[in-house]
C-alpha cells in the first residue's frame, strides 16, 4: 500500500483501521474520511463497530492498527487528552456528567482556564439551549435528556474543530432532541465539523451530506444518503440475510 496522503479538505482521515478483540474482528480494514465543515453520518446495525471506531479515533482504545490523521497530524497512539486538546472531542452513548457538580461546574471544568471568560462561555451555551436557569442545579438532579445536553455543551467548551457524537439523541425527549439537532446545525454553520452515530434515519437524511455504513466491522458503503438508502448491501446488512439454502 502506498503511503496515504490526506486531502486538504479532509479534517479526519482513517485508513486501514483494524481492531480485534480476542479473535473477533471488530473492525477490518476500515477507511473513513471526514470532509471539513460537513456533518458526516456513521450508521450500521447493532454491533457493527461504530462505537469501537469512535473509541479508536478518540484514543480511548489503544489496540487498533492502521493510520489516522487529524488536521494533518498522525494521531493513532496519542492519549485521549492529547487528541482532545488538539481539537477532537466526543460524547458518549450513555451520558457522563459529574453528578455532584452543578451544571455550570460541569461545563467550567472543561474550559481551559477558570476565569470569567470560561463562565461567560458556559452561560452563553446554556442560554442557547434554554438551560440557563439550571446553572446551579447538580448534575444528578437533571433529567436524562438534560444530562445528555449538558454533556454535549461540555464538549463545546473547548471549541473543538471536530466533534464525534455517539447517539446524542438516544433517550432524549422530542423537544430536547430538536434543541440538540438545532445546536448541531448552528455550530456546523459556524464551521464545526461533526461525525455522528445515529439510528434515526430521518435525522441522518436531514443533517448529513455524507454517510458511511459499517456492517460486521467492515465499511460496506459510503455516499450521500439517497444512494445509501438504495444500496442492496446496506439493506441486507440491516434486514439480515436469508439462509443460503433458501426458505426454511
Amino acid at each position: 500500500m502506498t503511503e496515504p496522503v490526506s486531502h486538504p479538505d479532509h479534517i479526519l482521515c482513517a485508513w486501514g483501521i483494524a481492531r480485534d478483540f480476542g479473535g473477533v474482528h471488530a473492525l477490518r480494514d476500515v477507511d473513513l474520511h471526514v470532509v471539513r465543515g460537513t456533518i458526516t453520518g456513521l450508521i450500521g446495525p447493532n454491533g457493527s463497530g461504530k462505537t469501537t471506531m469512535f473509541q479508536v479515533i478518540s484514543g480511548m482504545d489503544q489496540g487498533a492498527t492502521g493510520t489516522i490523521s487529524f488536521d494533518d497530524e498522525s494521531i493513532l497512539g496519542w492519549r485521549p487528552s492529547q487528541i482532545y486538546r488538539r481539537g477532537l472531542a466526543r460524547t458518549f452513548q450513555l451520558s457522563r456528567v459529574f453528578p455532584e457538580l452543578t451544571v455550570l461546574e460541569n461545563l467550567v471544568v472543561a474550559g481551559s482556564r477558570h476565569d470569567r471568560s470560561v463562565e461567560e462561555r458556559a452561560f452563553g451555551l446554556l442560554e442557547r439551549v434554554r438551560l440557563r436557569e439550571y446553572a446551579k442545579v447538580r448534575g444528578k438532579n437533571l433529567s436524562y435528556g438534560q444530562q445528555k445536553l449538558v454533556e454535549f455543551l461540555r464538549v463545546l467548551m473547548s471549541d473543538p474543530a471536530l466533534i464525534l457524537l455517539d447517539e446524542p439523541a438516544a433517550g432524549v425527549n422530542p423537544t430536547l432532541r430538536q434543541t440538540l439537532w438545532d445546536m448541531v446545525r448552528h455550530l456546523n454553520g459556524l464551521g464545526t465539523t461533526f461525525l455522528v452515530i445515529e439510528h434515526n434515519m430521518e435525522v441522518i437524511a436531514d443533517l448529513c451530506s455524507d454517510v458511511y455504513v459499517l456492517s460486521e466491522g467492515e465499511m460496506i458503503a459510503h455516499g450521500d444518503f439517497a444512494a445509501i438508502r438504495n444500496n442492496e448491501q446496506v439493506l441486507e446488512a440491516y434486514f439480515g440475510k436469508k439462509r443460503k439454502s433458501g426458505t426454511a
Binding site: 433529567s143 435528556g145 438516544a170 439493506l235 440491516y238 434486514f239 439480515g240 440475510k241 436469508k242
Partner: protein, 239 residues
C-alpha cells in the same frame, strides 16, 4: 380460528418523559412462532418487557389465555406459564450448567420433577448434557444461548418469549439455535421473539409484526413480510 393465547392491545410505555410505545397491539396463538421486528428504537424489546412485567405499561391491556395480566409483577409471570430468554444470554456464570437449569424451575418444589425437567432439556440439547458440570461462564456464546433457552423450558411453559436469540452468535450457532426453535414449535411450543435479524426470524415465523418508532407498521405472515420490499425499506426510513 383459535383464540389467541397472548393478546397485547393498544400498549403505551414511556421511560420517564420519553414515550417509546404508542399503542402497540399483537396476538400470539397457541403453537405459533411469532416475531417482532423493526429497526433500532422501534420498541421491540419494550413490548415484551411490558408483557412480562419488567417495565410498566401506562396504557393498554395484556391478556394471557383469556385472563387480564396487564402490569402483573415479573415474579408472578413464570407461574402463569410464560418464561423469558433475555437478550445477551444472561446465565449464572459461576454456577454449573445443571444448576443453571435447576434455577429455571425454582418454583417446582418436587426435586424429582425438577430432575426430570433437567433431563428433558438435556435430551433436547445433548451439548448441554456433555457440559453439565462446567460453570456456565465457560460455555461458548452459542452454548450459553442454548442454556438460557433450556432454562426457560424448565417450567414447561405455555409461551416462551425470546429477546434477540441470535444476537452476537456465529453464523453456525445462529443456524443451530434457529433449528432448535423450530424443533420446539414442532413439539407444540408457542414462541414469541424479538429479532434484529429480521430475514432469518421471518423465515422461521408463522407471523410477524414490524414496528417502527413505537407504532405497529406491518403485520402479516412471515413469508409475506419477508417478500414485502416496503418492510425492508422501513429499516432505512425509506418506506
Amino acid at each position: 380460528m383459535k383464540e389467541p393465547l397472548l393478546t397485547v392491545h393498544d400498549m403505551e410505555v414511556s421511560y420517564g418523559a420519553v414515550q417509546v410505545l404508542f399503542g402497540v397491539s399483537l396476538e400470539v396463538r397457541a403453537g405459533e412462532i411469532v416475531c417482532i421486528i423493526g429497526p433500532n428504537g422501534a420498541g421491540k424489546s419494550t413490548v415484551i418487557k411490558a408483557v412480562i412485567g419488567l417495565v410498566p405499561a401506562q396504557k393498554g391491556q395484556v391478556e394471557f389465555d383469556g385472563q387480564p395480566i396487564t402490569n402483573s409483577p415479573a415474579h408472578e409471570i413464570p407461574a402463569l406459564g410464560i418464561t423469558y430468554v433475555p437478550q445477551g444470554r444472561i446465565v449464572f456464570a459461576q454456577m454449573t450448567v445443571a444448576d443453571n437449569l435447576e434455577m429455571g424451575a425454582f418454583l417446582k418444589r418436587d426435586s424429582h420433577k425438577r430432575r426430570e425437567a433437567v433431563q428433558a432439556v438435556f435430551d433436547q440439547f445433548p451439548r448441554l448434557y456433555e457440559r453439565r458440570n462446567q460453570p456456565a461462564g465457560k460455555l461458548s456464546g452459542g452454548e450459553q444461548q442454548m442454556l438460557a433457552i433450556g432454562r426457560a423450558l424448565m417450567m414447561n411453559p405455555r409461551l416462551v418469549i425470546l429477546d434477540e436469540p441470535s444476537l452476537g452468535l456465529s453464523p453456525k450457532y445462529v443456524d443451530l439455535i434457529y433449528e432448535k426453535l423450530l424443533d420446539l414449535k414442532r413439539q407444540g411450543r408457542t414462541l414469541l421473539m424479538v429479532e434484529q435479524n429480521a430475514a432469518r426470524a421471518l423465515e422461521l415465523s408463522d407471523r410477524g409484526y414490524a414496528l417502527e418508532l413505537g407504532h405497529n407498521r406491518f403485520a402479516d405472515t412471515g413469508a409475506k413480510l419477508l417478500a414485502n420490499e416496503d418492510v425492508r425499506r422501513m429499516y432505512l426510513g425509506g418506506a
